[in-house]
Symmetry: C3
Subunit: 320 residues, 3 copies
């Protein structure tokens, strides 16, 4: 009996869509990181462009607004010499009652090559990937609470850059894990890449129960959570996404889980601090940490461009 194939891979096991870090092998993840390494230098050049996607059409389909993430994909595609179409979906035909797949069919008929999709509903990029023609590719730029694979990949790139490899690392993910697609995507990537100790740290109201099954250790105490770790990934407190009283207040959160220089001493002396941004100073992280020598938050942003260039160039080179 033949297993259901991962929708992200073609029959040769090559990446044709990036929908989630879940289900991708260590080899596939490593190939993306290795490819990204070649692209990091492009952004340092006098002419920051390579012609790999020249004449290709990349559609940024942001059903949920995110200027920052959209900009990173826009830059990555432009540096690959693609033509980028930014679609303000909230104001377009989607609001005229057209279905998601009818919108996709229409844009595909304009000869799209890559759809970069951000959607507030989990699974929307999967739906699109299963629908498009074999030469069209989908990159998930964040779907609901489900996944944010390019963020996870740039996090993995950053960790590998600063720590060499994953086989002896302890990594703590701290904060609003419940609402975080970043946390989920990172846990999948870390365990696949061989990280032996992944911890999720936060109050009971913000750390869901299924984390243990995913291979992460749950800690509700910050000291225990970051004790001896090599990497601390602070999550953004998603104020705008929280409904009701999961949390007393931002100040309350900082008092128990905010990263301060004092608390960072619980981690290894050479531990790095990461954050997907934008940071809330004085909520999940103190300014002294965010601006301090252990923070690699801006390196994440820089590597993020290279990782997105890698993902787009890889999927574009394979047909379904």
């Amino acid at each position: 009996m033949r297993l259901q194939r991962n929708p992200q891979l073609n029959a040769n096991g090559e990446l044709i869509h990036l929908l989630s870090t879940e289900g991708l092998s260590k080899a596939v993840l490593t190939h993306i990181l290795d490819t990204a390494a070649n692209f990091v230098s492009v952004s340092d050049r006098e002419v920051k462009k390579v012609p790999l996607l020249r004449g290709k059409s990349v559609f940024n389909l942001f059903f949920e607004n995110s200027t920052r993430t959209r900009t990173t994909f826009d830059i990555a595609a432009t540096r690959l010499s693609a033509d980028v179409i930014n679609l303000d979906i909230a104001r377009s035909s989607a609001s005229k009652g057209e279905s998601l797949l009818d919108t996709i069919d229409n844009l595909s008929a304009m000869a799209a090559d890559i759809f970069v999709v951000r959607h507030n509903e989990s699974g929307a990029p999967y739906l699109i990937a299963q629908h498009v023609a074999p030469h069209v590719h989908v990159v998930n730029a964040g779907d609901g609470r489900h996944a944010h694979p390019t963020q996870a990949l740039l996090d993995m790139y950053t960790i590998r850059h600063f720590k060499g490899d994953f086989s002896n690392l302890s990594v703590a993910i701290v904060g609003d894990v419940l609402h975080s697609r970043v946390a989920r995507s990172n846990i999948h990537a870390l365990t696949t890449l061989g990280c032996p100790d992944v911890r999720v740290v936060g109050p009971k109201t913000l750390v869901p129960g299924d984390m243990t099954q995913m291979g992460a250790r749950v800690c509700h105490d910050l000291r225990e959570g970051i004790s001896g770790v090599d990497v601390v990934i602070a999550l953004r407190l998603q104020n705008e996404r929280m409904s009701g009283a999961l949390l007393p207040s931002a100040q309350e959160f900082f008092k128990s889980y905010g990263l301060t220089p004092e608390r960072m001493q619980w981690a290894k002396p050479d531990a790095i601090v990461m954050h997907p941004g934008p940071i809330n100073r004085g909520v999940e992280i103190a300014s002294a940490v965010a601006d301090g020598p252990q923070a690699v938050i801006l390196s994440q942003v820089t590597f993020g461009i290279a990782v997105r260039m890698a993902v787009m160039s890889i999927v574009a080179s394979h047909d379904a």
Copy 2:
């Protein structure tokens, strides 16, 4: 006595603006369709670009928001290698009380080559065309209830592609003809190209009285309207444009005029079904028809890019 010249043509009869299909000769329309045929293949290439408009500035002036139509012009201009400036006019100086022609003068002074204009007032693109310098060109992307010539041209391209020529065809345009600039532009194009049997089909409240003068036969009964036709063009029910009680309800409309597989049997067996999009499933068209073998709706979209490339490259090659 010299006749008033058509503002779309120069003294040599060459197309310098595309404002309406009305008043354009069969030769001019056919030249656009023939040129478009050369561009269809560009979107299939590895590098989807030709350098025809390199270094030209195309301004998308959308006084009325339409992400979909704007995107098609953006893509068409980009594939001709033009630089595209998208102006969100609703939020710009127009709202600071500047007049339409002052806005145009300003943008012209920035060395614009082509203005693609969408406006909710009929005639606005004419006003602009009469005002601009001889080397500047205007393409109407829809003005009020008046005209939508690139949509009509892509419809003509689609019909010619599937049916060969117009001289023996019966074409039915079904639905909200009253509010449809697409319907008007299509009737002009069809009669000019020699289509002997053009019918407009819809309830009395949605089919205006001047249709007969334009050379179309008015039918209020769907069966009579599509009986034996080669082409059915379903129009979008413009819910957002209707004021008051011209129509009982969308369901009511579907009951009398919605295209279903059963009703499509009244047309020729090889009839094609077209729609300008976005479609309202279950209102003007049943899903079984929209997704069925007779529908050529997505081909219209594909041909639309080529037709817009043709129009822009033709007008840009002629001075007034």
Copy 3:
């Protein structure tokens, strides 16, 4: 004792940011105008592009919306072959509570080369310029009531184009001087370039007291203000910026300060009339003047593209 260096210049006195015309030497201003002269012809070419900034990333950071000004920078950067990222800051992470400098750090980490900044707070571009890395450049596209240096430079270009040089000129700036960053930037530029007679003209409520110290003569009577001048710069009545009762009404303003053909006879017969746009016909200027032979308002727009190309190419060629 070493003087505090002007933040716009590097140790060699070369322009690295354009923040204000204040504090720039005649040599620096003249270099910009001379460079712009070379770019005026680019917009007349068949292919309106030069490769000077190919592969550079220009970020348009408009914290205050201005489609017109953003468009001029977009076009100028595109004609230098740069890649342009337009950021709708009002809807982005700034609204998620991120600080200005955190936003800048993030975008810098994406390998930005030039930030074009419009901000409603005076001084914001200075803050950014002092913060960025040595190879990153800031161009002020208008900050609060403080400065609008590219507008002033295009005004200087226009005056020099039509009047040759500044050493014998009388220039009157008429209208809402109080709210006008254009007026301030123009006064600095005119006095630096050697203009011996700069007048600011308007009602007491709209002409601030510090104008005399800046080297301008204050006139509250229009006849006295424009009597014998070579250049009249009419300012836009900033209706949207005025709070309360500084002014009776637009009609009242026109009665006392509006430029009409009759009043223009008080100036020199060959005087030119300028305006930063968009013009309010019948408020600060009569249509007969705006559309008349003395108006050079559209030339200002054309020269504005060349001046912005000059500024961006100059700052990009120097490191801090």
